[in-house]
């Protein structure tokens, strides 16, 4: 146990150092790719609170992601024109808020259904928003979407990709850290209980319905925050952010990484975001390979890569332990045999 803790701490510190130092050597394109990877990681981590921990399969998180992005851009414009006084680094709070509120409202009736029906309700709402968005000129900017420019704050101009990257990194660290801490609280335990046995939770006197709405809202809030981070890096967004592909992508990330683990979806989201950038230079039909990999992983590692690694490592640890036991028993026996002989 102690060794595992030390290993975990070492990995965490290494990751943080790499994330802090690497962009200096990455160039502008690399920096914006890293920011995208972090954004996807935050999105996946927030979605996994709902999917992995609470066991609720939603198929419409693009709604909250897109709303977060669009509203952040509106707020960014307002800051630019001086109508609202908000520090630029705090703009993602807008996405968090919008995502949380819209998810709370949708969650009020989506969570009344369960299983495939829950997924279909969220899907219907997401598709509705996706169809309406390009027609709603004033809010979503029609088909072309809306653009804005980051205003400077104190001595930070947010003109370079590096500054934006650090902003995204900061928010990613805070939100993923907060989601991890959440799993350690009583609320985190209750989230698992929703997945494992909702009826028993009710018997114990908890309001499972409100709990599910709250989990849905938090997950939507984080999706909105991720949308915000996208808007911060991109300075533009349009209705395609609401498309089912976005909702599907986050589900892929979570299931490939392993919805039963905390870290799996985060790592998978980051890597799968970079995947097209690496492969599109080599082959034009990279989605083919991506699709094949998805199918293979679901067939042979239904708990995702993270789940598979955990299972293997547990098996290895168990084997190691039982070997050690055999050895100690053998040693004892040997000692006792020695005693009788003398």
């Amino acid at each position: 146990m102690k060794r595992r803790r030390a290993l975990g701490a070492l990995l965490l510190v290494t990751t943080i150092v790499v994330l802090l130092v690497a962009p200096h050597f990455a160039g502008s394109a690399g920096q914006s790719l890293m920011a995208k990877m972090l954004t996807a990681a935050v999105f996946a981590c927030g979605y996994n609170l709902l999917m992995g921990q609470a066991g609720l399969l939603a198929f419409g998180h693009a709604t909250f992601y897109g709303l977060g992005a669009i509203m952040t851009l509106h707020a960014m414009s307002a800051v630019e024109h001086g109508t609202v006084d908000l520090a630029t680094p705090l703009l993602p709070l807008v996405g968090l808020f919008v995502g949380f509120v819209s998810a709370a409202v949708i969650g009020l009736f989506a969570t009344k259904r369960s299983g495939a029906y829950f997924a279909l309700v969220t899907f219907a709402i997401a598709e509705l928003v996706h169809v309406i968005a390009p027609m709603w000129q004033s809010l979503f900017g029609g088909e072309s979407g809306i653009t804005s420019t980051r205003s400077s704050w104190l001595s930070l101009t947010f003109a370079s990709d590096l500054e934006v990257y650090y902003l995204v990194l900061g928010w990613s660290g805070v939100s993923i850290g907060a989601l991890w801490l959440l799993t350690r609280t009583a609320f985190g335990r209750l989230t698992l209980a929703v997945r494992e046995n909702e009826n028993r939770l009710q018997f114990l006197g908890y309001n499972a319905y409100l709990l599910k709405v709250l989990i849905f809202a938090i997950s939507g809030g984080v999706a909105g925050l991720a949308g915000s981070l996208f808007a911060m890096t991109n300075e533009a967004a349009n209705y395609t952010l609401f498309s089912p592909e976005i909702s599907a992508q986050v589900i892929f990330n979570v299931f490939i990484g392993g919805s039963t683990t905390f870290l799996g979806p985060i790592v998978a989201a980051a890597l799968l975001t970079a995947f097209p950038y690496w492969l599109s230079d080599i082959t034009r039909s990279w989605p083919l390979y991506q699709g094949l990999i998805f199918m293979g992983i679901m067939l042979y590692m239904p708990d995702g890569i993270g789940g598979w690694i955990r299972q293997k490592s547990r098996k290895m640890a168990a084997a190691w332990r039982s070997k050690a036991e055999v050895r100690s028993i053998a040693a004892e026996k040997g000692a006792s045999v020695g005693l009788t002989n003398s």
Binding site: M51, L57, F59, F109, K112, R113, G115, A116, Y117, A119, L120, V121, F123, A124, I125, E127, L128, V131, I132, M135, W136, Q137, S138, P244, A248, I251, F252, F255, I256, S259, S285, P287, L288, Q290, G291, L292, I293, F294, M295, M298, L299, P302
Partner: protein, 313 residues
Amino acid sequence: MEYVVISVLNGLAYGMLLFMLSAGLTIVFGMMGILNFAHTSFYMMGAFVGYSATKAGHFWLGLLLAPVVVGGIGVLVERLLLKRLHAFGHGQELVFTFGLAIVAEELIKSIFGDFPVPYDIPQQLKFAAFSFHNTQFPFYRVLMTGVAAACFLGILLILIYTRIGIVVRAAERQPMMTEALGHNVGAIFGAVFGVGVALAALAGAIAGAYYPTSARMALDVGSIVFVVVVVGGLGSLAGSFVASLLLGLLTSFAIGLDWNLAQLADLVGLGAQARAAGGMLTLPLSQFAGAIPFLLMLLVLVFWPNGLLGDKQ
């Protein structure tokens, strides 16, 4: 009057096409509980089989080959892959079938290219079946409607009156019991999946000639089939038939109407204010045609989760 009649006819033709597309999906969900996101990929493949046959000069052969070839692929996919996934859960099925849809699209793209292919109906079929006032109604739409109606009746009669139909229905209701009576439930599931896929492929071969045929066509109808299945009631064949016609008619009427919300506001004397507000309130209904199905789906899910004709959950 003319508008109403033509809209009804167009709505029926589109609705029947929707039914052929979604029939397989609803049966498969009813039997196996699989939400198959790759279902419309089989529709797309059917269109490309039809195109290939037509290019070789055999349009009718294409209509025959599409369901056979693609249905065969469907049986293989179910028996070799989907069957194993079933134990895991909805999420895994969703990711897997989505992956399958991506693979299908990319494979078709690598063979036929990224752009729509010139798949057209044969010259001798391009005539008007009848004309109503000044609008001519193409014969091909009548053919589409007829084929779909024949499929619906055929499946319904087989399910109700034949021994095969009884075994299939038994396998849906009580798979364990049916197995205990000596029927190979796995093979039945595979066959039913294959028939559903074959229907979608036939729809693709027929519709592909009328609408644009490209690798993206699976995605274009990917969402609407779920609306049909949900509105009709998951697992209900008759329900999805009714829902298909309903959706076809709704869409067909909405496209031609320029009503807007401001006119609705007129009824209570707020029309002027609504027009001044502009935005969403003055958009014509025809623009919203795409939103209607999803609104309907949402209403059904919230108020009648079993759908129009579905069984109790």
